[in-house]
Amino acid sequence: MSAEIRVQEAAFDPGAELSAFTPRAAAAGAGAMVSFTGLVRDLPGAGGLSRMVIEHYPGMTEKALEKIAAEAADRWPLGPVLILHRFGALTGQEPIMMVATASAHRVAAFEAAEFLMDYLKSRAPFWKKEETGDGTRWVAARSEDEDALGRWR
């Protein structure tokens, strides 16, 4: 397993990332690749989302993501792993983050991607703030996200 971890302010194109990931997965003998991409939802209706600002904890963020990737590699036989997360100001419909996994078979690639997402949601120090026509608010953590970790214990 070789993990590529990137925490960046710049926008990215999920397709370009998958194009770069594919030959690395293939060269590692993978038969299955899974990618997950999170997008800023452009909620319709009054006071729709106009902007999202993501704060993070430089230093701890990278350590937390490395740890999550290493734990995934302990549980499943993985080829390359990508974890990419933006911070700063984002507008509607922009990609927020992405993970990609590769393995010999599909179940391992799917499970590892879900594991990375579940841990990233509740254990990596990112905080989202939404700005709408009605004002700004910090996104509240959802108890379902904490509960999702139960699957992996």
Binding site: G38, I54, E55, H56, Y57, G59, M60, K63, A64, H85, I96, M97, M117, L120, K121, S122, R123, A124, P125, F126, W127, K128, K129, W138, V139, A140, A141, D145, E146
Partner: protein
């Protein structure tokens, strides 16, 4: 000891980082000390269940000891992804 604040904790306290001298031996003691400082601290730390703490950039608990710790961070539950 460096104390860092993130998200609404940072906003309520009004600064992202400060350096303090403390004789607190656990996170809970440190929180008690901060609460007595000013109303904005008391408010930020009013409900510990709504907070998380990291010691030297590792998630930790409020009853954890502070011996040897150089950086303490307080923040709400994470909402990445």
């Amino acid at each position: 000891m460096d104390i860092l604040y993130f998200a609404w904790v940072r906003e309520r306290i009004g600064l992202p980082k400060e350096r303090i001298e403390t004789s607190a031996t656990t996170v809970a003691e440190l929180v008690e000390e901060l609460r007595t400082r000013e109303a904005r601290y008391a408010e930020a730390f009013s409900d510990l269940k709504a907070l998380r703490v990291a010691l030297d950039q590792e998630l930790s608990e409020f009853d954890a000891p502070l011996a040897g710790v150089r950086e303490v961070a307080f923040f709400p539950p994470m909402t990445g992804g």
